[in-house]
């Protein structure tokens, strides 16, 4: 079976020089949740943005292939790319408030996609929106449809965004730190919901996060990044084991745990950062 998303040697560079993503390869199969893990500056969000074609102005793709099913997203005409986004590839953003238009009711924002991308009638779109809200376990979906985003809690807004993301039955969802802004009990509900929806619809998910705890609970495979390079790639059991690379293990040791005393916590040794930065520098010298 060929993967839904296949990224080969993706390179993202700053227009003023220097690389943000250094020849990263990874693939996501149907029905798989693939974790993209790293600290700030590791390049995880840049990769997600490259897939969605929403890189910031200062950055551009300078190499590689982003194959989605049979298309290379990087070669696709803009119009064709736009028609894929939302319908075939959807996003669950980090901040549920910025992901929604504050001036429009939930009903309008949900039915837009269904009407314009899928050509449903007004009545069908509303009925489908209602069904989707039920599917993401929102009580009183009728009432929620008539609300504005600010009238909903953070968890409710994230449920609405998940409903929107799944509304067109996409084959790939990019989830960009989807639970970082939420309370921990709500985070668990949202993680469970993403997993349920993803399993029910067989969706491939590229799950961007900095949280190894979240990774352990929801991802099947993981790519660990540092300075725009792949440090490690593998199944979740390998990543979470003593077989993992020194950087991944150091990240684990630097993650506080409520079930362990303070002396179990060790900051990431500086030499590990330095070695990885040196590899990045060597890459830059070889690829100016």
């Amino acid at each position: 079976m060929s993967p839904i998303l296949d990224i080969r040697d993706l390179r993202v560079s700053l227009r003023r020089g220097g690389h943000l993503v250094r020849d990263v390869s990874l693939s996501v199969d149907a029905g798989e949740v693939h974790g993209l893990v790293g600290e700030s500056g590791a390049g995880k969000t840049m990769i997600a943005k490259a897939v969605l074609g929403i890189l910031p102005d200062a950055a551009r793709i300078t190499g590689g292939v982003v194959r989605f099913r049979d298309d290379d997203l990087l070669q696709l005409p803009p119009k064709r790319l736009r028609s894929l986004l939302g319908r075939e590839i959807a996003l669950i953003p980090q901040d549920p408030l910025t992901g929604l238009n504050p001036a429009r009711r939930i009903s309008a924002q949900m039915t837009d996609m269904l009407r314009h991308h899928l050509g449903q009638s007004r009545g069908d779109a509303r009925a489908n929106a209602l069904r989707l809200l039920q599917e993401v376990q929102i009580r009183d979906p009728e009432q929620v449809l008539d609300r504005y985003p600010h009238e909903l809690s953070g968890g409710m807004r994230q449920r609405v965004l998940i409903a929107i993301a799944f509304s067109a039955e996409p084959s790939l969802i990019v989830a960009d730190e989807p639970t970082t802004a939420l309370d921990v009990t709500v985070q668990k509900q949202i993680l469970r919901l993403i997993r349920q929806m993803q399993e029910r619809h067989g969706t491939a998910v590229l799950f961007v996060t900095h949280d190894l705890g979240v990774v352990a609970k929801i991802c099947h495979r993981v790519t660990v990044l540092h300075t725009g390079q792949v440090v490690e790639q593998g199944g979740i059991a390998d990543i979470m084991s003593a077989r993992a690379t020194p950087f991944t293990r150091a990240l684990m040791d630097a993650t506080p745990r409520y079930d362990q005393p303070a002396d179990a916590l060790h900051p990431v040794p500086e030499h590990i950062h330095q070695e990885l930065r040196a590899t990045a520098r060597r890459f830059d010298e070889a690829n100016p």
């Binding site: 600290e39 700030s40 376990q137 929102i138 009580r139 809690s153 953070g154 968890g155 409710m156 449920r159 309370d183 921990v184 009990t185 709500v186 985070q187 668990k188 509900q189 993680l191 469970r192 997993r195 900095h210 949280d211 190894l212 705890g213 979240v214 990774v215 352990a216 609970k217 929801i218 979740i236 059991a237 979470m240 150091a250 990240l251 684990m252 630097a254 993650t255 506080p256 745990r257 409520y258 079930d259 362990q260 005393p261 303070a262 916590l265 060790h266 900051p267 990431v268 950062h273």
Partner: protein, 520 residues
Amino acid sequence: MSAPLLQVRDLTLSLPDRSRGGMFGKPPMVDILRGISLDLPAGQSLGIVGESGSGKTSLGRAIVRLYQPTSGQILFDGTDITNLDEAAMRAHRKNMQMIFQDPQSSLNPRRRIGEIVAQPVLALGVEQDRRAALKRADLALDRAGLGHAFARRYPHELSGGQRQRVGIARAIATEPRLIVADEIVSGLDVSTQAQILALLNGLKQDMGLSLVFISHDLSVVRVLADRVMVMLGGRVVEEGHTADVFQGPRHAYTRQLIDAVPLPVIEPDWLDSQPGTEGTRMVDIKGQTVLVTGTSRGIGKVFVDALLAAGAAKVYAATRNGDGAHDDDRVVPVKLDVTSAADIVAAAGTCADTTVLINNAGINFNSKLLDTDQTDAASAEMTTNYLGTLNMCRAFAPVIESNGGGAIVNMASILARVSLPLMGSLCASKAAVYSMTQGIRAELAARGVAVFAVLPGAVDTDMTRDFPPPKATPADIVAEVLAGMKAGEADIYPGDMAKGVSGGLAADRPAVIAEMAGYV
């Protein structure tokens, strides 16, 4: 032993709720903190954990008098600082500093780091002379692990971790005895976070600092806090040694919070454990002290056995004449007629350790509304079913709250949502119960008491002899109620009839009303 450095006694705080109230007139006041007490000995650290809206940040701000408490007392080093004016507070400010979540927004971008760190030293009169203040800033920057060379730099040249070190340097520059740190590592990468936590632990030991460490992250609190307080809805639900609380939480909310933290270990069942829908807390009967009304027969009687089987620590079995004796010694019979105000007051006193209240007592006269000779039925049903339940809620909500939270379960009926004219007066009383339950749920939402409405269909008891099938058995109803509480379903519809009618109402309300009318 000397007195604690910081003592807080029964602190309450009310602030205007700016999300409500019109363009004119004052917005209504909302209770942010409700009777907080704590002791912090010198050199110790106290973690405060809770979710958004728990009041943890407001408590931190009230402690350093950024908010004026509404009532209660704050003692710092034995001095009552609760009502000191700002001039009098100034003498204490150098001894109590606060570090905020976002160092970026609290650092003046035009000032050099050295000046930023020296600012409180001058402003609070620790040094009168600018050069002496800058010297203290250098020392503080060294202690914060940045090195005094950073004094010449500007905030924008710094990484997030470095900016947070500046925040720490500024807080320790006046050599305080207490630091209140609010979410100071939450935006940081774990490798930076671990360094900042290590720095704070070192400073605490070297400088003998006392620390109030506020965070939503239980794992981070474990690293720094000797003791921990768990907050919910402006109250403390649990307090104790950090390791004890996290390894053996006593309160249901603490357990729920701990359970939701994703540890970096593979646990295939974790995502599906304790399913719940948003808004209602999940309540497990295990270890709870439960009061059930109307236990002489029917559902109430079955409740007692089911609660024991589910691991309740104690069951108060309330009946009108107090004859609820049981061979299990966890059952305590209580004489309680819910229509008697005196009985209710007495029960709230004798059952003061109640954490879950199940309002099961109810009556049904099988009376129509107009064409009936039971003219007293409506009044009697209202008195027992509605007012009895309401008065029990009024008496026991504060009891449950003071025990750290719990649940109230009100037995309504599917007939609360659609009238069966055959029993029109019962339906009206059950509709009142359901409406009242929603209202109480909203009032108690932030106060640690989950409120459940149970809307069963016909149950096979002697009260429903005349009602046509299908009827559910009391055992089935009770089992579904306990499962619904555990899953956090606000409205519980036990039995096929309840689910059928509820589904019917959602799909075609007029058809259900017509069907019910047909039984007259």
